[in-house]
Subunit: 139 residues, 4 copies
Amino acid sequence: MNKDPTTLVRRINDSAEFNRWCGFEVVSCEPGAVELAMPWRKEVGQYSGFLHAGVVGALIDTACGFAAATLVGPRLLAAHFSVNCLRPASGQRFVARARVVKPGKQQVFTCCELFAIENGVEKLVAVGETLLTVLPTEA
Amino acid sequence: MNKDPTTLVRRINDSAEFNRWCGFEVVSCEPGAVELAMPWRKEVGQYSGFLHAGVVGALIDTACGFAAATLVGPRLLAAHFSVNCLRPASGQRFVARARVVKPGKQQVFTCCELFAIENGVEKLVAVGETLLTVLPTEA
Amino acid sequence: MNKDPTTLVRRINDSAEFNRWCGFEVVSCEPGAVELAMPWRKEVGQYSGFLHAGVVGALIDTACGFAAATLVGPRLLAAHFSVNCLRPASGQRFVARARVVKPGKQQVFTCCELFAIENGVEKLVAVGETLLTVLPTEA
Amino acid sequence: MNKDPTTLVRRINDSAEFNRWCGFEVVSCEPGAVELAMPWRKEVGQYSGFLHAGVVGALIDTACGFAAATLVGPRLLAAHFSVNCLRPASGQRFVARARVVKPGKQQVFTCCELFAIENGVEKLVAVGETLLTVLPTEA
Protein backbone atom coordinates (compact mmCIF):
# COMPACT_ATOMS: atom_id res chain seq x y z
CA MET A 1 0.00 0.00 0.00
CA ASN A 2 2.86 2.36 0.78
CA LYS A 3 5.03 1.25 -2.10
CA ASP A 4 4.22 4.23 -4.27
CA PRO A 5 2.79 6.99 -2.12
CA THR A 6 2.73 9.54 -4.93
CA THR A 7 0.49 7.40 -7.13
CA LEU A 8 -1.84 6.68 -4.21
CA VAL A 9 -2.09 10.33 -3.16
CA ARG A 10 -2.59 11.63 -6.72
CA ARG A 11 -5.34 9.06 -7.21
CA ILE A 12 -7.17 10.18 -4.07
CA ASN A 13 -6.73 13.82 -5.06
CA ASP A 14 -8.11 13.19 -8.55
CA SER A 15 -11.12 11.29 -7.25
CA ALA A 16 -12.25 14.12 -4.92
CA GLU A 17 -14.60 16.55 -6.65
CA PHE A 18 -13.85 19.40 -4.24
CA ASN A 19 -10.08 19.05 -4.71
CA ARG A 20 -10.49 19.16 -8.48
CA TRP A 21 -12.74 22.19 -8.34
CA CYS A 22 -10.31 24.03 -6.05
CA GLY A 23 -7.41 23.04 -8.29
CA PHE A 24 -5.39 21.18 -5.64
CA GLU A 25 -2.14 19.76 -7.12
CA VAL A 26 0.07 17.18 -5.43
CA VAL A 27 3.49 18.76 -5.93
CA SER A 28 5.58 16.21 -4.12
CA CYS A 29 5.11 13.26 -1.87
CA GLU A 30 7.41 11.09 0.22
CA PRO A 31 6.77 8.78 3.17
CA GLY A 32 5.29 10.99 5.87
CA ALA A 33 5.36 14.29 3.96
CA VAL A 34 3.31 15.91 1.22
CA GLU A 35 3.34 19.24 -0.59
CA LEU A 36 0.02 20.41 -1.99
CA ALA A 37 -0.47 23.57 -4.07
CA MET A 38 -3.38 25.64 -5.39
CA PRO A 39 -3.42 28.67 -7.69
CA TRP A 40 -5.39 31.74 -6.60
CA ARG A 41 -8.78 32.30 -8.29
CA LYS A 42 -11.37 34.77 -7.17
CA GLU A 43 -13.80 31.89 -6.45
CA VAL A 44 -11.75 30.89 -3.38
CA GLY A 45 -11.94 34.38 -1.87
CA GLN A 46 -13.80 35.72 1.13
CA TYR A 47 -15.58 39.07 1.20
CA SER A 48 -12.47 41.24 1.21
CA GLY A 49 -10.61 39.23 -1.42
CA PHE A 50 -8.27 37.16 0.75
CA LEU A 51 -8.20 33.38 0.61
CA HIS A 52 -11.32 32.13 2.46
CA ALA A 53 -10.51 30.63 5.87
CA GLY A 54 -12.49 27.57 4.80
CA VAL A 55 -10.12 27.00 1.88
CA VAL A 56 -7.15 27.62 4.19
CA GLY A 57 -8.55 24.81 6.33
CA ALA A 58 -9.28 22.61 3.31
CA LEU A 59 -5.69 22.89 2.06
CA ILE A 60 -4.26 22.13 5.51
CA ASP A 61 -6.64 19.25 6.27
CA THR A 62 -6.13 17.71 2.82
CA ALA A 63 -2.35 17.94 2.90
CA CYS A 64 -2.33 16.43 6.41
CA GLY A 65 -4.57 13.55 5.31
CA PHE A 66 -2.33 12.85 2.32
CA ALA A 67 0.80 12.87 4.50
CA ALA A 68 -0.85 10.30 6.77
CA ALA A 69 -1.98 8.19 3.79
CA THR A 70 1.63 7.82 2.61
CA LEU A 71 2.33 5.88 5.81
CA VAL A 72 -0.88 4.03 6.63
CA GLY A 73 -2.88 3.95 3.39
CA PRO A 74 -6.17 5.59 2.50
CA ARG A 75 -8.45 4.11 5.20
CA LEU A 76 -8.43 7.29 7.28
CA LEU A 77 -10.92 9.82 8.59
CA ALA A 78 -10.09 13.25 10.02
CA ALA A 79 -11.33 13.31 13.62
CA HIS A 80 -10.10 16.78 14.54
CA PHE A 81 -8.39 19.59 12.74
CA SER A 82 -7.45 23.09 13.73
CA VAL A 83 -6.07 26.12 11.96
CA ASN A 84 -4.23 29.23 13.14
CA CYS A 85 -4.58 32.14 10.73
CA LEU A 86 -1.38 34.14 11.19
CA ARG A 87 -1.87 36.73 8.46
CA PRO A 88 -4.49 37.58 5.83
CA ALA A 89 -3.81 35.00 3.10
CA SER A 90 -3.13 36.78 -0.16
CA GLY A 91 -1.03 35.54 -3.08
CA GLN A 92 -0.92 34.15 -6.60
CA ARG A 93 -0.39 30.64 -5.35
CA PHE A 94 -0.65 28.72 -2.07
CA VAL A 95 1.49 25.80 -0.92
CA ALA A 96 0.64 23.53 2.02
CA ARG A 97 3.50 21.44 3.44
CA ALA A 98 2.29 18.70 5.75
CA ARG A 99 4.14 16.04 7.69
CA VAL A 100 3.35 13.23 10.08
CA VAL A 101 4.27 14.10 13.67
CA LYS A 102 3.46 10.65 15.07
CA PRO A 103 2.01 7.67 13.19
CA GLY A 104 0.12 4.94 15.01
CA LYS A 105 -2.12 1.94 14.55
CA GLN A 106 -5.25 3.74 15.71
CA GLN A 107 -4.47 7.37 14.97
CA VAL A 108 -2.01 9.59 13.13
CA PHE A 109 -0.94 13.07 14.29
CA THR A 110 0.01 15.47 11.52
CA CYS A 111 0.86 19.16 11.13
CA CYS A 112 1.04 21.60 8.25
CA GLU A 113 2.33 25.02 7.24
CA LEU A 114 0.55 27.06 4.57
CA PHE A 115 2.50 29.58 2.49
CA ALA A 116 1.25 32.28 0.14
CA ILE A 117 3.49 32.96 -2.85
CA GLU A 118 3.53 36.42 -4.42
CA ASN A 119 6.08 37.27 -7.10
CA GLY A 120 8.20 34.30 -6.09
CA VAL A 121 8.31 35.26 -2.41
CA GLU A 122 6.88 32.79 0.12
CA LYS A 123 5.15 34.00 3.27
CA LEU A 124 3.83 31.79 6.08
CA VAL A 125 0.11 32.63 6.41
CA ALA A 126 -1.31 29.77 8.48
CA VAL A 127 -0.37 26.69 10.47
CA GLY A 128 -2.61 23.80 11.38
CA GLU A 129 -2.88 20.20 12.43
CA THR A 130 -5.08 17.19 11.83
CA LEU A 131 -5.65 14.12 13.98
CA LEU A 132 -6.73 11.19 11.81
CA THR A 133 -8.35 7.94 12.83
CA VAL A 134 -7.21 4.77 11.09
CA LEU A 135 -10.31 2.78 10.14
CA PRO A 136 -10.21 -0.89 11.09
CA THR A 137 -9.75 -3.24 8.13
CA GLU A 138 -12.92 -5.00 7.15
CA ALA A 139 -12.82 -8.70 7.90
CA MET B 1 -23.81 48.63 13.36
CA ASN B 2 -25.91 45.93 15.02
CA LYS B 3 -29.24 47.44 14.12
CA ASP B 4 -30.01 45.03 11.35
CA PRO B 5 -27.73 42.02 11.67
CA THR B 6 -29.52 40.02 8.95
CA THR B 7 -28.89 42.67 6.30
CA LEU B 8 -25.25 42.98 7.32
CA VAL B 9 -24.64 39.22 7.33
CA ARG B 10 -26.43 38.64 4.02
CA ARG B 11 -24.39 41.42 2.46
CA ILE B 12 -21.09 39.85 3.65
CA ASN B 13 -22.27 36.44 2.44
CA ASP B 14 -23.20 37.76 -0.99
CA SER B 15 -19.90 39.57 -1.41
CA ALA B 16 -17.77 36.46 -0.77
CA GLU B 17 -17.08 34.53 -3.98
CA PHE B 18 -16.42 31.26 -2.17
CA ASN B 19 -19.69 31.45 -0.23
CA ARG B 20 -21.63 32.05 -3.45
CA TRP B 21 -19.92 29.18 -5.23
CA CYS B 22 -20.61 26.82 -2.32
CA GLY B 23 -24.21 28.02 -2.16
CA PHE B 24 -24.15 29.24 1.45
CA GLU B 25 -27.55 30.70 2.48
CA VAL B 26 -28.16 32.80 5.60
CA VAL B 27 -31.30 31.13 6.95
CA SER B 28 -31.73 33.18 10.07
CA CYS B 29 -29.85 35.69 12.09
CA GLU B 30 -30.31 37.29 15.48
CA PRO B 31 -27.89 39.06 17.84
CA GLY B 32 -25.22 36.48 18.68
CA ALA B 33 -26.62 33.60 16.62
CA VAL B 34 -26.71 32.62 12.95
CA GLU B 35 -28.02 29.69 10.95
CA LEU B 36 -26.26 29.01 7.65
CA ALA B 37 -27.29 26.30 5.16
CA MET B 38 -25.88 24.70 2.01
CA PRO B 39 -27.40 22.15 -0.35
CA TRP B 40 -25.36 19.06 -1.23
CA ARG B 41 -23.69 19.02 -4.68
CA LYS B 42 -21.09 16.55 -5.79
CA GLU B 43 -18.54 19.40 -6.14
CA VAL B 44 -18.30 19.69 -2.34
CA GLY B 45 -17.45 16.00 -1.92
CA GLN B 46 -14.25 14.26 -0.91
CA TYR B 47 -13.00 11.06 -2.52
CA SER B 48 -15.62 8.73 -1.07
CA GLY B 49 -18.52 11.08 -1.65
CA PHE B 50 -19.01 12.57 1.82
CA LEU B 51 -18.90 16.31 2.44
CA HIS B 52 -15.24 17.39 2.26
CA ALA B 53 -13.75 18.19 5.68
CA GLY B 54 -12.63 21.49 4.23
CA VAL B 55 -16.23 22.45 3.45
CA VAL B 56 -17.27 21.24 6.91
CA GLY B 57 -14.69 23.70 8.26
CA ALA B 58 -15.79 26.45 5.87
CA LEU B 59 -19.41 26.18 6.99
CA ILE B 60 -18.46 26.22 10.67
CA ASP B 61 -15.93 29.03 10.37
CA THR B 62 -18.29 31.14 8.25
CA ALA B 63 -21.30 30.68 10.54
CA CYS B 64 -19.13 31.52 13.56
CA GLY B 65 -17.82 34.67 11.90
CA PHE B 66 -21.36 35.77 11.02
CA ALA B 67 -22.56 35.17 14.59
CA ALA B 68 -19.73 37.38 15.85
CA ALA B 69 -20.48 40.07 13.22
CA THR B 70 -24.04 40.41 14.52
CA LEU B 71 -22.59 41.70 17.80
CA VAL B 72 -19.41 43.55 16.88
CA GLY B 73 -19.73 44.35 13.17
CA PRO B 74 -17.72 43.12 10.21
CA ARG B 75 -14.19 44.21 11.23
CA LEU B 76 -13.18 40.70 12.31
CA LEU B 77 -10.55 38.13 11.38
CA ALA B 78 -10.58 34.46 12.36
CA ALA B 79 -7.44 33.83 14.42
CA HIS B 80 -8.09 30.18 15.23
CA PHE B 81 -10.71 27.64 14.33
CA SER B 82 -11.08 23.96 15.02
CA VAL B 83 -13.42 21.22 13.91
CA ASN B 84 -14.39 17.85 15.37
CA CYS B 85 -15.73 15.45 12.75
CA LEU B 86 -18.15 13.22 14.64
CA ARG B 87 -19.53 11.20 11.74
CA PRO B 88 -19.03 11.00 7.97
CA ALA B 89 -21.04 13.99 6.69
CA SER B 90 -23.63 12.81 4.23
CA GLY B 91 -26.98 14.42 3.42
CA GLN B 92 -29.09 16.43 0.98
CA ARG B 93 -28.55 19.62 2.92
CA PHE B 94 -26.28 20.91 5.68
CA VAL B 95 -27.12 23.42 8.38
CA ALA B 96 -24.57 25.18 10.60
CA ARG B 97 -25.88 26.79 13.79
CA ALA B 98 -23.36 29.14 15.38
CA ARG B 99 -23.55 31.27 18.48
CA VAL B 100 -21.30 33.64 20.40
CA VAL B 101 -19.96 32.09 23.60
CA LYS B 102 -18.26 35.28 24.85
CA PRO B 103 -18.04 38.62 23.06
CA GLY B 104 -15.27 41.07 23.86
CA LYS B 105 -13.58 44.24 22.72
CA GLN B 106 -10.49 42.46 21.43
CA GLN B 107 -11.77 38.98 20.65
CA VAL B 108 -14.97 36.99 20.27
CA PHE B 109 -15.35 33.30 21.19
CA THR B 110 -17.91 31.38 19.12
CA CYS B 111 -19.04 27.79 18.65
CA CYS B 112 -21.05 25.90 16.06
CA GLU B 113 -22.89 22.65 15.42
CA LEU B 114 -23.18 21.25 11.90
CA PHE B 115 -26.13 19.03 10.98
CA ALA B 116 -26.70 16.90 7.88
CA ILE B 117 -30.32 16.64 6.75
CA GLU B 118 -31.49 13.52 4.92
CA ASN B 119 -35.18 13.03 4.18
CA GLY B 120 -36.09 15.62 6.77
CA VAL B 121 -34.04 14.00 9.55
CA GLU B 122 -31.25 16.06 11.14
CA LYS B 123 -28.07 14.40 12.34
CA LEU B 124 -25.20 16.15 14.17
CA VAL B 125 -22.08 15.49 12.06
CA ALA B 126 -19.53 17.99 13.35
CA VAL B 127 -18.91 20.60 16.04
CA GLY B 128 -16.39 23.40 15.95
CA GLU B 129 -15.34 26.75 17.26
CA THR B 130 -13.74 29.95 16.03
CA LEU B 131 -11.84 32.60 17.94
CA LEU B 132 -12.08 35.94 16.14
CA THR B 133 -9.98 39.04 16.56
CA VAL B 134 -11.73 42.40 16.47
CA LEU B 135 -9.70 44.72 14.25
CA PRO B 136 -8.98 48.13 15.73
CA THR B 137 -10.95 50.96 14.12
CA GLU B 138 -8.82 53.04 11.83
CA ALA B 139 -8.21 56.53 13.17
CA MET C 1 -18.00 -1.84 33.73
CA ASN C 2 -20.67 0.85 33.37
CA LYS C 3 -22.93 -0.49 36.07
CA ASP C 4 -21.84 1.98 38.69
CA PRO C 5 -20.11 4.89 37.01
CA THR C 6 -19.80 6.93 40.21
CA THR C 7 -17.81 4.23 41.98
CA LEU C 8 -15.55 3.77 38.96
CA VAL C 9 -14.91 7.48 38.54
CA ARG C 10 -14.32 8.11 42.25
CA ARG C 11 -11.85 5.22 42.30
CA ILE C 12 -9.89 6.66 39.36
CA ASN C 13 -9.95 10.10 40.96
CA ASP C 14 -8.68 8.76 44.28
CA SER C 15 -5.87 6.81 42.64
CA ALA C 16 -4.42 9.83 40.80
CA GLU C 17 -1.86 11.68 42.91
CA PHE C 18 -2.28 14.96 41.03
CA ASN C 19 -6.06 14.92 41.46
CA ARG C 20 -5.68 14.38 45.20
CA TRP C 21 -3.14 17.15 45.54
CA CYS C 22 -5.34 19.57 43.62
CA GLY C 23 -8.35 18.52 45.68
CA PHE C 24 -10.53 17.36 42.79
CA GLU C 25 -13.92 16.06 44.03
CA VAL C 26 -16.37 14.05 41.94
CA VAL C 27 -19.61 15.87 42.75
CA SER C 28 -21.94 13.88 40.54
CA CYS C 29 -21.77 11.32 37.83
CA GLU C 30 -24.26 9.79 35.42
CA PRO C 31 -23.83 7.94 32.12
CA GLY C 32 -22.10 10.41 29.80
CA ALA C 33 -21.85 13.33 32.24
CA VAL C 34 -19.66 14.24 35.21
CA GLU C 35 -19.37 17.21 37.55
CA LEU C 36 -15.94 17.77 39.10
CA ALA C 37 -15.15 20.48 41.67
CA MET C 38 -12.06 21.98 43.31
CA PRO C 39 -11.72 24.55 46.07
CA TRP C 40 -9.45 27.54 45.50
CA ARG C 41 -6.04 27.43 47.23
CA LYS C 42 -3.19 29.79 46.52
CA GLU C 43 -1.06 26.83 45.32
CA VAL C 44 -3.17 26.58 42.14
CA GLY C 45 -2.60 30.25 41.23
CA GLN C 46 -0.59 31.85 38.48
CA TYR C 47 1.52 34.96 38.96
CA SER C 48 -1.35 37.42 39.35
CA GLY C 49 -3.43 35.19 41.61
CA PHE C 50 -5.96 33.78 39.14
CA LEU C 51 -6.41 30.05 38.65
CA HIS C 52 -3.42 28.81 36.59
CA ALA C 53 -4.35 28.01 32.98
CA GLY C 54 -2.70 24.63 33.49
CA VAL C 55 -5.15 23.83 36.30
CA VAL C 56 -8.02 25.13 34.16
CA GLY C 57 -6.89 22.59 31.55
CA ALA C 58 -6.43 19.84 34.15
CA LEU C 59 -9.99 20.29 35.46
CA ILE C 60 -11.45 20.26 31.95
CA ASP C 61 -9.38 17.33 30.70
CA THR C 62 -10.07 15.30 33.85
CA ALA C 63 -13.82 15.93 33.84
CA CYS C 64 -13.96 15.03 30.12
CA GLY C 65 -12.04 11.79 30.70
CA PHE C 66 -14.37 10.86 33.56
CA ALA C 67 -17.46 11.55 31.44
CA ALA C 68 -16.05 9.24 28.75
CA ALA C 69 -15.19 6.55 31.32
CA THR C 70 -18.82 6.38 32.47
CA LEU C 71 -19.71 5.07 28.99
CA VAL C 72 -16.69 3.07 27.84
CA GLY C 73 -14.75 2.24 30.99
CA PRO C 74 -11.31 3.35 32.13
CA ARG C 75 -9.16 2.12 29.18
CA LEU C 76 -8.84 5.59 27.68
CA LEU C 77 -6.09 8.03 26.77
CA ALA C 78 -6.55 11.72 25.96
CA ALA C 79 -5.27 12.25 22.41
CA HIS C 80 -6.13 15.92 22.09
CA PHE C 81 -7.55 18.56 24.37
CA SER C 82 -8.11 22.26 23.99
CA VAL C 83 -9.18 25.09 26.25
CA ASN C 84 -10.69 28.52 25.63
CA CYS C 85 -10.06 30.92 28.49
CA LEU C 86 -13.04 33.29 28.41
CA ARG C 87 -12.29 35.32 31.52
CA PRO C 88 -9.61 35.45 34.22
CA ALA C 89 -10.57 32.53 36.51
CA SER C 90 -11.10 33.78 40.01
CA GLY C 91 -13.35 32.30 42.70
CA GLN C 92 -13.63 30.37 45.94
CA ARG C 93 -14.52 27.17 44.13
CA PHE C 94 -14.43 25.83 40.57
CA VAL C 95 -16.85 23.39 38.97
CA ALA C 96 -16.22 21.57 35.67
CA ARG C 97 -19.27 20.06 33.95
CA ALA C 98 -18.32 17.63 31.20
CA ARG C 99 -20.42 15.55 28.86
CA VAL C 100 -19.91 13.11 26.03
CA VAL C 101 -20.70 14.65 22.64
CA LYS C 102 -20.24 11.43 20.66
CA PRO C 103 -19.13 8.04 22.00
CA GLY C 104 -17.51 5.47 19.73
CA LYS C 105 -15.60 2.21 19.66
CA GLN C 106 -12.30 3.86 18.79
CA GLN C 107 -12.71 7.36 20.14
CA VAL C 108 -14.93 9.50 22.35
CA PHE C 109 -15.62 13.21 21.80
CA THR C 110 -16.34 15.21 24.96
CA CYS C 111 -16.80 18.83 25.96
CA CYS C 112 -16.76 20.77 29.22
CA GLU C 113 -17.69 24.08 30.79
CA LEU C 114 -15.73 25.46 33.75
CA PHE C 115 -17.44 27.76 36.23
CA ALA C 116 -15.93 29.88 39.01
CA ILE C 117 -18.12 30.30 42.08
CA GLU C 118 -17.81 33.41 44.22
CA ASN C 119 -20.28 34.06 47.04
CA GLY C 120 -22.68 31.56 45.53
CA VAL C 121 -22.66 33.13 42.07
CA GLU C 122 -21.48 30.97 39.15
CA LYS C 123 -19.58 32.51 36.24
CA LEU C 124 -18.49 30.67 33.10
CA VAL C 125 -14.71 31.16 32.87
CA ALA C 126 -13.56 28.55 30.34
CA VAL C 127 -14.81 25.97 27.87
CA GLY C 128 -12.88 23.07 26.45
CA GLU C 129 -12.97 19.69 24.82
CA THR C 130 -11.09 16.40 24.88
CA LEU C 131 -10.85 13.69 22.23
CA LEU C 132 -10.10 10.35 23.88
CA THR C 133 -8.81 7.17 22.30
CA VAL C 134 -10.29 3.89 23.49
CA LEU C 135 -7.42 1.45 24.07
CA PRO C 136 -7.90 -1.98 22.51
CA THR C 137 -8.60 -4.74 25.03
CA GLU C 138 -5.63 -6.95 25.63
CA ALA C 139 -6.11 -10.45 24.27
CA MET D 1 10.83 45.53 28.68
CA ASN D 2 12.61 42.99 26.49
CA LYS D 3 16.09 43.97 27.57
CA ASP D 4 16.61 41.02 29.86
CA PRO D 5 14.02 38.36 29.05
CA THR D 6 15.57 35.76 31.37
CA THR D 7 15.19 37.98 34.43
CA LEU D 8 11.61 38.84 33.50
CA VAL D 9 10.61 35.22 32.87
CA ARG D 10 12.31 33.89 36.02
CA ARG D 11 10.54 36.58 38.05
CA ILE D 12 7.13 35.59 36.65
CA ASN D 13 7.92 31.90 37.24
CA ASP D 14 8.96 32.54 40.85
CA SER D 15 5.85 34.58 41.61
CA ALA D 16 3.43 31.86 40.45
CA GLU D 17 2.50 29.50 43.30
CA PHE D 18 1.53 26.66 40.97
CA ASN D 19 4.82 26.84 39.06
CA ARG D 20 6.77 26.68 42.32
CA TRP D 21 4.77 23.73 43.59
CA CYS D 22 5.24 21.84 40.34
CA GLY D 23 8.94 22.68 40.35
CA PHE D 24 9.04 24.49 36.99
CA GLU D 25 12.58 25.73 36.19
CA VAL D 26 13.41 28.26 33.46
CA VAL D 27 16.38 26.52 31.82
CA SER D 28 17.04 29.02 29.08
CA CYS D 29 15.46 32.01 27.55
CA GLU D 30 16.10 34.09 24.44
CA PRO D 31 13.91 36.49 22.45
CA GLY D 32 10.99 34.37 21.23
CA ALA D 33 12.06 31.06 22.74
CA VAL D 34 12.03 29.48 26.20
CA GLU D 35 13.01 26.13 27.66
CA LEU D 36 11.16 25.09 30.81
CA ALA D 37 11.89 21.91 32.80
CA MET D 38 10.29 19.96 35.65
CA PRO D 39 11.51 16.90 37.54
CA TRP D 40 9.16 13.93 37.91
CA ARG D 41 7.46 13.50 41.30
CA LYS D 42 4.62 11.14 42.02
CA GLU D 43 2.38 14.14 42.88
CA VAL D 44 2.18 15.09 39.18
CA GLY D 45 0.98 11.64 38.14
CA GLN D 46 -2.38 10.44 36.89
CA TYR D 47 -3.97 7.18 37.96
CA SER D 48 -1.60 4.84 36.10
CA GLY D 49 1.54 6.74 37.03
CA PHE D 50 2.19 8.74 33.86
CA LEU D 51 2.48 12.52 33.89
CA HIS D 52 -1.06 13.93 34.28
CA ALA D 53 -2.41 15.44 31.03
CA GLY D 54 -3.21 18.57 33.04
CA VAL D 55 0.46 18.99 33.94
CA VAL D 56 1.40 18.27 30.31
CA GLY D 57 -0.89 21.18 29.41
CA ALA D 58 0.45 23.37 32.22
CA LEU D 59 4.06 22.91 31.05
CA ILE D 60 3.14 23.66 27.44
CA ASP D 61 0.92 26.64 28.22
CA THR D 62 3.46 28.10 30.65
CA ALA D 63 6.43 27.72 28.29
CA CYS D 64 4.38 29.29 25.47
CA GLY D 65 3.38 32.23 27.65
CA PHE D 66 7.01 32.79 28.68
CA ALA D 67 8.18 32.67 25.05
CA ALA D 68 5.59 35.35 24.21
CA ALA D 69 6.59 37.46 27.23
CA THR D 70 10.18 37.65 25.99
CA LEU D 71 8.91 39.62 22.99
CA VAL D 72 5.93 41.61 24.24
CA GLY D 73 6.30 41.73 28.04
CA PRO D 74 4.14 40.23 30.74
CA ARG D 75 0.77 41.85 29.95
CA LEU D 76 -0.60 38.69 28.32
CA LEU D 77 -3.48 36.29 28.82
CA ALA D 78 -3.83 32.85 27.23
CA ALA D 79 -7.01 32.90 25.11
CA HIS D 80 -6.73 29.39 23.68
CA PHE D 81 -4.41 26.48 24.13
CA SER D 82 -4.40 22.95 22.83
CA VAL D 83 -2.37 19.83 23.45
CA ASN D 84 -1.75 16.67 21.43
CA CYS D 85 -0.69 13.75 23.62
CA LEU D 86 1.51 11.63 21.34
CA ARG D 87 2.63 9.01 23.86
CA PRO D 88 2.10 8.24 27.55
CA ALA D 89 4.39 10.74 29.28
CA SER D 90 6.84 8.90 31.48
CA GLY D 91 10.34 10.00 32.52
CA GLN D 92 12.59 11.34 35.26
CA ARG D 93 12.42 14.84 33.89
CA PHE D 94 10.31 16.82 31.39
CA VAL D 95 11.44 19.65 29.14
CA ALA D 96 9.10 22.00 27.27
CA ARG D 97 10.61 23.99 24.38
CA ALA D 98 8.36 26.81 23.24
CA ARG D 99 8.78 29.40 20.54
CA VAL D 100 6.82 32.29 19.07
CA VAL D 101 5.35 31.44 15.66
CA LYS D 102 4.00 34.94 14.98
CA PRO D 103 4.11 37.94 17.31
CA GLY D 104 1.62 40.78 16.97
CA LYS D 105 0.26 43.87 18.65
CA GLN D 106 -3.02 42.23 19.63
CA GLN D 107 -2.10 38.54 19.80
CA VAL D 108 0.87 36.20 19.82
CA PHE D 109 0.87 32.69 18.30
CA THR D 110 3.20 30.21 19.97
CA CYS D 111 3.94 26.49 19.83
CA CYS D 112 5.74 23.99 22.04
CA GLU D 113 7.23 20.50 22.12
CA LEU D 114 7.33 18.51 25.34
CA PHE D 115 10.03 15.88 25.86
CA ALA D 116 10.34 13.21 28.54
CA ILE D 117 13.91 12.38 29.58
CA GLU D 118 14.73 8.91 30.86
CA ASN D 119 18.36 7.90 31.46
CA GLY D 120 19.54 10.79 29.34
CA VAL D 121 17.37 9.89 26.35
CA GLU D 122 14.81 12.46 25.15
CA LYS D 123 11.49 11.36 23.71
CA LEU D 124 8.83 13.69 22.24
CA VAL D 125 5.64 13.01 24.23
CA ALA D 126 3.37 15.94 23.40
CA VAL D 127 3.05 19.00 21.19
CA GLY D 128 0.84 22.00 21.77
CA GLU D 129 0.15 25.62 21.06
CA THR D 130 -1.12 28.72 22.82
CA LEU D 131 -2.74 31.84 21.40
CA LEU D 132 -2.15 34.77 23.73
CA THR D 133 -3.92 38.12 23.86
CA VAL D 134 -1.85 41.21 24.50
CA LEU D 135 -3.65 43.31 27.11
CA PRO D 136 -3.98 46.98 26.26
CA THR D 137 -1.75 49.27 28.31
CA GLU D 138 -3.62 51.13 30.98
CA ALA D 139 -3.91 54.83 30.29
